[in-house]
Symmetry: C2
Subunit: 326 residues, 2 copies
Amino acid sequence: MSIEKVAKIAGVSAATVSRVLNDQHIVKPATRDKVLAAIAQCNYQPNLLARQLRTSRSRMLLVLVSNITNPFCSLVVRGIEEEAERHGYHILLCNSESNPTRESAYLSLLRGKVVDGVITMDAVSCLPGLTDMIGDFPWVQCGEGDPEFRASSVTIDNSQAASAGVYHLAAKNRQRIALINSDMRYLYSQQREQGYRKALTELGFEYCKIEYVEELDYTAGAKAMEKLLQNAPKPDAVFAISDVIAGGAMSVLHQQGLHIPNDIAVLGFDGVPFGEVTTPPLSTIVQPMHQFGIRSVQLLINKIKHPQLDDSHEILEWQLIERGST
Amino acid sequence: MSIEKVAKIAGVSAATVSRVLNDQHIVKPATRDKVLAAIAQCNYQPNLLARQLRTSRSRMLLVLVSNITNPFCSLVVRGIEEEAERHGYHILLCNSESNPTRESAYLSLLRGKVVDGVITMDAVSCLPGLTDMIGDFPWVQCGEGDPEFRASSVTIDNSQAASAGVYHLAAKNRQRIALINSDMRYLYSQQREQGYRKALTELGFEYCKIEYVEELDYTAGAKAMEKLLQNAPKPDAVFAISDVIAGGAMSVLHQQGLHIPNDIAVLGFDGVPFGEVTTPPLSTIVQPMHQFGIRSVQLLINKIKHPQLDDSHEILEWQLIERGST
DNA sequence: CTGAAAGCGCTTACAG
DNA sequence: CTGAAAGCGCTTACAG
């Protein structure tokens, strides 16, 4: 079923059908009604590929996440989808697992005109080949903002938030605050570590111990916690780079019979729902995940509509929520 | 940059460039080399929309999930993406939140030729309008298999698994086994409830108490648990329809000072990673989530390639894992 | 082995 | 207000 056939049924030209389809009000009401009737009669739905090819607009957005399994990511994606829908856009999801081959396969959709722009939530910024692939296409980095790249960004002040986390723990009389950080490829990891070290210095604390994880999952958090408990003196607080990591750490502490927060305090990062149901509930630094998604889409669509626009870098507010674990 | 320009640079016709692009081996090696050089020289990437329009194959799959935030969903999506990539397909994600408007917007992409087929993980089956939209397009239901519909499916035997759960709890000397079930729109909810009731009858248990949740999140699980504890006699075991629900329930039990499993046992469903880090670790019925994703894609692509094929209904194996909570 | 031509199904100046 | 025609960028019989 094509526009040509609808036109024939309605007794008009394809151009007129197209005008009706696109809500152009220059069509005479009577004609319009005939067309609408024909469309309904044959249950016609335009071929979107043809339209996209012709207009060179796909109204699709590529979203590159490193791990959709991470609740932080899925909450951001939710915000992205909500806002995209509002603007008539659809989402193509690439769950990259930080796999460059897969990322580049998806990014080639930009040059292939299948998507109009991309939101990245992975550290593409350190994979030079990939940034070449993005080239001049509309791009916003979400949750991470490397000003070196020609991309807009939506983030929080990671360094400041991490410092605040350390001060919070210090206010709870903790002296030996360990950090479980993730892959230093991520700019946010670097920034949070910097904030952690800065606060430690300001406080005059000597204890400074950092364990790195390669994946942001419970198992990685558990392993890191085990390592942290091996050397003396043991920490009396752990600051985890993500709530998921904190969850893994807490399970090890329970196993070893340590009391949270008396023996050791635990502070997370992200503000993911499961932090509300841990034992004890997890204190954490909340990122505005939903808002991350919404603003990212707004910036991206703005850039798609006005390509000559300058990149903008948004810093949203974080918030420290104290629950039972600190 | 179009195929025409590449052809001009290489001194051949567009048809020849197209043949090289599509790896057709009838091209003379010398010609082939010239073309490849031209492609490299101008960094050419074919317009995928044009190709898709011409071949009427988009190599895109639509995935409809009700809530990407649910770890069950994201683990299945991961499997889907992995297998799709293997076949050269990309994923369009619709996080429907069970919102019919959004679902139908995405489903219209089927008739719009933007996607070649759809995998649903939501209860579209009870939204008649939506199944009309899917029409005769390739469709597989994942995690739910309603034989009434013209769709293939990949599931487990939900009724059998639920019965086994009840028997497991009975073997732990539980007599008052409550069920926290989800929305009865879902076929799997109906099937699991049926398995639960069947086992209860077989065991001759009189206690039978079911609480329903509308959302599959921690909060909903917590609320349901609170209600369950309000009437006497209290249950000595809770069987939750999902691990996330179980997590919410456990937090309430901890708050009320009840010991798990001594005072009350908790059994989950899904086998999601966070069940490993609860206190105590969660016993659960594991669904092969990754395999769900993989098989769904295989069935779907098979159907895309051979539309006349009959629908197939696959039942995969579940597994009861006993951890500390039962 | 290669090219000229038609066509996928739309949209959009242009002319009337 | 409407239609004829061109064109988006590919692929694919068809002919040579």
